[in-house]
Each structure stands twice: as C-alpha cells, then as structure tokens.
Subunit: 327 residues, 2 copies
Amino acid sequence: MIRSVNPLAQEPRYELIGRVLRENILSGVLPQGFVLLEGPIAAVMQTSRVPVQSALRQLLEDGLIHRFDGRGYLVGQGGADVIPIRRDIRELELEIPQVVDEALQTRGTWRHVYDKVEEEVASCQIFGEFRIVETELADHLGVSRTVVRDVLARLQERGLVRKSPSSHWIAGPLTARTVSEKFELRGIMEPAALRLAGPHIRYAEVEALLERTGTDPGITPQYLGDALLELCIAQAPNTALVEMIRSNRLLLSSVDRALILLGLPRDEDTIEQYQTLLDLITHHPIDSACEYLRYHLSITARRYLARMKIVAVIDETGSFAPYLSPQ
Amino acid sequence: MIRSVNPLAQEPRYELIGRVLRENILSGVLPQGFVLLEGPIAAVMQTSRVPVQSALRQLLEDGLIHRFDGRGYLVGQGGADVIPIRRDIRELELEIPQVVDEALQTRGTWRHVYDKVEEEVASCQIFGEFRIVETELADHLGVSRTVVRDVLARLQERGLVRKSPSSHWIAGPLTARTVSEKFELRGIMEPAALRLAGPHIRYAEVEALLERTGTDPGITPQYLGDALLELCIAQAPNTALVEMIRSNRLLLSSVDRALILLGLPRDEDTIEQYQTLLDLITHHPIDSACEYLRYHLSITARRYLARMKIVAVIDETGSFAPYLSPQ
DNA sequence: CACCTATGTTATACGAAGTACAGTTTTTCC
DNA sequence: GGAAAAACTGTACTTCGTATAACATAGGTG
C-alpha cells in the first residue's frame, strides 16, 4: 500500500508549517526572542493565517515558543531577560525543505496519487488491454473510492482510460493507429507552436543547451525532447495550444520511458537530429526549424512504431502495478 | 429543481423495459399467449438479462402476464385455453419510443446533467467571473454532491471552470485573450483536419447542403458551422484531432448561442463565406479550401471579438442559472 | 480571534446492472 | 420417439453509480 509519492503531501498544512518553524528554531535560524507574527509567516509560506495559527499553538504547547506582553510569540522558553527581536521574517532566509515546499503547493490527495497512476496506466498500454477495478486501486493507493473515481475520471478525460460497455474501466491497448494519430497531431501542433514561440524563445538558454549536447553524456534523446518542449515550443503565447501539446505527448513519453526500462536500445542519431533542430532554431529563420521539426517528427513516428513492434514480439508482460489486470 | 433534460433518463432500465413491454401488450403488438423469454428481450433492448427479469416480475405482479408450465411468461391473464405462441420477438417490430431508446443508451446521472451545466457555465462567461458552490449546484440539479463534483471535475479538465487559490470553483471570465487563443487553435487544427478529411468527405451530401444554402432560411451561420464540422472536418481519420477540435469549439459556440439569445444581430455575409468554402471543398483542390478556411477563421475571430465588446458595454447580466453567482 | 462557509476526503450503504455457471427446458435431428 | 445439442432460466457474485452523513481543513470576515 502506497499512500503517496511525497509522504509529506498528505499532512495538513499546519503540520508542515509547524515542522518548518520547529526545524528553523532548533537550527538557530530563528534566534531566541524573535517575534513570530501570523501574517508575515503566512506570507512566507504562501498560505492564509489559519494554519499558521494552529502551528503556533502547537509550538507553544511543545514549549518551543512563548507568549509575551505584546502581539505574537517569542522564540524560546521565555524569561524576563529575553528582548523581543522585531525583524521581518522574510529577511531571515528560513530553511524550507524542498519536499515541504512541494507539499504546500499542491492540495488534494488525488493530485498526489494522480501522477503515479497516470504513469503506470500509460506505460502498461503497450502490453495490451488492462482492466482497472476501483476498489482494488483504492486499496493499493490507500485512499477511498471517491479519490480513485476522481483520478479515473480525469484519466478518462485525458483519453488514457475508457469505459467498457459494461462500464468497467479499461486501459489500452495502445495500437499502431493510436500512436500514428498522436504523432500526426504532434506534426500539426508542434511546428505551429514553434512558429508562434519564435519571438519569445530565450535563445541564450537554447544555445547553452546546444553547446552541452554531444559532449555531456547525460543528455539523452528524452532529455532533449523535454528541453525542446520547455525551452522552445512551450514558449508559444497560447496556453491552450501548449496544454494540448503536453497532454498529447503524455502517453507517448510514458511509453517511451517504459521501453527504455525494458532495455530497448535508444537510437543515437536522434541526438543529431535534435542538434540540427536546435541549430536551426538559434541561427536560422524559424520557418526552417518548423519544417525540420515536421520532418523530424515523421522520422520519429516511424522509429517509434518499429520499437513498439519489437515489444509486441517480446510479449514479456513485465511487472505491472497490481491493480492492472491484463484482459 | 431540474432532474434531467430527458425525464426518462433517470429511470432504471427495468422500468424502461417494463414500460415498453406494457405498452406493446396493451397496444396488441404482443398478442395474448405470446411467450416472453428473458434472453431475446434483453437482446432487443441491448442490455443484459437482469433488468429484463425485474421488468417481467413487475408485469407479473400487475397481472399483464402470467407463468405457465414451461419457460418464460405468457402475455395475458392466463386461463386453460391459451395456447403458447413461440416466435422470435425480433420479428414482432416492438414499438420502442425514441426517448426510451435514448435513455437506454446512456447511463449515469452525471451524463444527463452534464450537458446542461456545460452550456450554462460556458455561456455565462461573457458576462464575467462567476462562482459555483457545490452544494448549491447539487440542490439545483437535485443530485448529490458526488455527482456535482464529478461534473465539475470534468468541466475543469475541459477548461471550462477552474479553482481559485482558495480552491473555490470559478467560471470565466471569457477574455479577448482566451477567445483569440481559441481561434488561433482553430486556425491551426481545422484546416489541417480538413486536408486530412479530403478523401473521406461524402461530397454528395456537401453538395446537397450547398444547394439549400441561400434559399432555405433555416440555414443560419451556426447551422452551417456545425454542418461544416460534421460533414467535412470531422471526417478526418484522426479521432484525437477531431476530439480536440470539438472541445476547442465548445466554449465558442456556447457563447455564440448566448449572444444570439441576447438578440445580437447575426451577420449575413458569413453565409456567403460558408458558401464559398463549401464550393471550394466540392469543386476545387482541397488545399485551396484549407487556405480559405484559414482566412475565414481569421475574419470570424475579428467579428467575434467585436460582438463580445458590445456585450461588455451592455453589461446587462441577463438571468443566469441560480447556482452561478457573479463575483 | 471567533465564527461561518466551502471544500476534500472518508466510510458506509444500497440499488442497478453485468457475468458466470449450473441446472432445466426446448429444439433438432436421426 | 429419443438422445444430443442448443437455448433459456435461476442465482450468486462482482462492480459500478449515487446518496448520505460526517469530519477535518482551510479561507474569509467582522
């Protein structure tokens, strides 16, 4: 049973805030006598004052802070000799761990489990058709059916699962046709987005990436694909378009990751194609880059389909998440 | 309180099946002594046997059918002299009303309320920002919060509502920017789809439509727009693309309907543009039609934005569904 | 800081509908 | 006329759709 990818994501905000304050008091970042005020803390944590209140109450009980004759709380056990330090908490550089920060950003259990389920559901589809039973998934995730249904409804909207005629949840199979359609869509939308993005690309960053490509072994085709999306295509000033491009790529890249995990060799010459593309983007009219992107996608689609066929031959049904039962 | 657009849609299947059988018995289509078997009835109704069983039990209680020494039920009150008629029910041409047939197709309360909510939520957005409260919507629709949350989650996925930072549901406002983005998307996707659709268009039907255009006063720009989508663009052999085009148009056409309801004059010359377009599609290379479609969309976008500005001046907040409260 | 409101989530329950299988009736074919 | 095959029913089991109550959390406001 998994509760979440980020274990802190489940905790209420006041716990997270309390945790941050506690650690900063113990580490000395918040000095004895420092005046803690609700409002500024809420501002730093990007939340409202209510959870800050709860956190402070808890810290008071734990004896880490104390009240005094004035507004707010003082850090430390208290005593007559402590002089209140009144400074803006924003100047103090509180240490806020990455995980806590993330957990503060997102709300809703379903968000925390969604990504994991999405990835697992998407990547199983090369291996055929799978059935998902709500209660099994709920047990597996350690959440209620309500949350599971929320997740599944959204997966359905994004086209990753569907309902059988008897209204059971079905994922896959990923057919050559589906893949072709998705690449066809990429060929329509991504060059168009790149053209729109033209004036908004931060060329220095692209150039820096281009420099590293070829020497840095950490730069895989996947990395380049994502970077191209983020640095160039996603700069298009049309959020709806970018959103569609993202959601269209979702299944393809999940499958890609799954294929890599399966040990399929990645082809080296796509790196060359990316280099050419990045070069065109930085040094030539954007239209030529768009044209080349279209060409690149048509090649990639063929390669992708060829790799899928290999898997179909392997038919090694690796290990799927237990809630995914092959049909 | 509204329960549904189609009042029968809420009823369980066995009720619908019972209703059909009852009416066909009373009208005499099902003669006295006819042997009613579960399986065949289920096949006719396109369902499983379970609801048919329930329906038959109910009819038995009502005295419209009776059991006999054999499998199934006999139509009529019964008596020693009735001779069982064994014939395939499919030969009998049961009268199945349109509404019942529709209701049998769809399942799930949320489906029945979804369209209505979608339309209302979409069309309010020209008038600014609206808040939706789950419980109010639930009361209004006469359903539980469960269903409402399902509907809202899907509206969110389709980009018609969003969450405020305090995670309240917000619809709108429809800004000029949003509209421009959506038309930009149309300009990218619809010509591309039209090109793909080229070989699959049933030209006879398009020609028939073209004939009627100009003479038949029932052919409005809206009608033509929908027809163009269905007859030509949606014929593209890429379901994902067509799906995206549909969902992208959703908000635009809802707003369009709202504007017409508001009494804004429709411009007559778009009909001419549609005529030109249909003519190009039927009699010329598809590329020229694509090009013209792109041009047409850019004009339409400008007109659309101009009409929206008029409404902004009117700022007459007509009557919205009661669960939509302006911010 | 207290109160009010709305959302997120859980748990539970029940009805509706599909599936599978065993057992029975009807049909078919010799 | 009788046996095998096909069709049908009864029934238990499973899953999904929805309702409902309840509670914690968080935001807003005076």
